[in-house]
Amino acid sequence: MSWNRPLIIGIILLLLALGWLRTNSGDTELVRRSRLMMGTIVEIVASGRDTGQLEAAVDDAFAEIARLDRLLSRHYQDSDITRLSQSSKGGEVAPETAEVVALGLDVARRSNGAFDMTLGRLKILWGLDQENPVVPTQAAIAEALEGIGFHALSLEGLNLIKRSPQLMVDLGGIAKGYIVDQAVMVLKKHGVTSGAVNAGGDMYLLGQHPEHPWRIGIQHPREQGGILATVQVRDKAVVTSGDYERFFEQDGHRYHHIFDPETGSPARGCQSATVITDSVALGDALATALFVLGPQKGLELLAEYPGSAGLIVAADGTLHPSQGWANYQGAP
């Protein structure tokens, strides 16, 4: 056999092509971006083969989050929620607002009011968003509780009806989850089958991580930076409510942001409640309800939702997993 030029050049080109294919073919691209939105860090992860498609999906998902936040947040003067709170009887709302409220009312009814979207005035009274919050007087708390409760809010089509003029709607315990769900829908519409949308720890895990099932760490409620448990999930929402992020201390007591609608004060039965379920909106509302109800009643409520699981850390630090929790438990 004799050497010739085309053969040599051909071999070199073939080797280069194989090298290029080795580095590019089959590789999964990962687009990971984060922004400050909805008063927290929102992170979107999308993986797939087409970077352009992933970038477009993530851009559109962020745009959807911004749109819905303007509709559902009480921090915008022109939002549905601000408009409702300022009106005496309620009024017509956007279909998205109606959808959130309908789900919230259902969880409120099933939890016997432990989840409550009418605590707007009470939350302002406690002022946990302010620099120097103080414990309000019992008289002020009683006044903020007047005319509220889930029975004071109803929905007829797109008409949201307030039974009491001073009722201030607050979707803080459900809107963020709903918005995350809608952002996930946007990713799906773009053909993304693997990714995550995480808004300050309330998240949905789409498909699985490029290399393994999604591994989600659950924050330890009393150890800064500590992990209470790790779960492995795919196509599930994971939401945690805890007393450790927004709180102040007065006279040796911790006053946090999850209120018991019966007392008008921070709920005392738990340190944290984690829920794994099918949508972040439901998980968001259930995690709040479980926290308020405490371990026993909380797990009874969770049992009404097939396919859901949870882990409650009681006020004394004991762990109360639901029946299905072990199915998700990963490496410690």
Binding site: S2, I8, I9, S34, E131, I216, I218, I227, Y244
Partner: protein, 128 residues
């Protein structure tokens, strides 16, 4: 039988050397890519600070409310003082794994750990 290099013209050599040069340059570029884990800070939409995670550092970061003080040490990157009302950024503690995020939302400061995926990280995302 002639040796391969005896049948190649100057043009052949030019093609071969060009391809080899491109390959070597590509390998060198990949080798020069950053391998360490970095702390990247954005203020608003602008990247305002980048540092290696394994080198101790202390910096004041300007935001609309004032200065957020970030410390990088053996525990990771963490906020030690902040002009924000609720100090959630301080209570979040240190971040150190690739992909970890820390933010002072009122002061529009976001700290991100960037680098190769940490095989030893116990989780991909944190629910809190």
């Amino acid at each position: 039988m002639k040796k391969p290099w005896q049948v190649m013209t100057k043009g052949d050599w030019l093609i071969v050397l060009t391809l080899l040069g491109v390959s070597i340059a590509g390998i060198a570029w990949l080798a020069a890519a950053p391998k360490g884990t970095r702390v990247v800070v954005t203020s608003g939409d602008q990247t305002c600070f980048i540092a290696e995670l394994d080198q101790s550092h202390s910096v004041d970061l300007d935001g609309p409310l004032g200065k957020t003080h970030l410390v990088i040490d053996a525990t990771g990157a963490h906020v030690t003082s902040s002009p924000c009302p609720r100090k959630i950024c301080i209570s979040m503690g240190p971040v150190k794994h690739s992909g970890d995020l820390l933010a002072c939302v009122p002061n529009r400061i976001m700290v991100r750990i960037e680098g190769p995926a940490d095989e030893n990280a116990p989780y991909d995302l944190l629910s809190r």
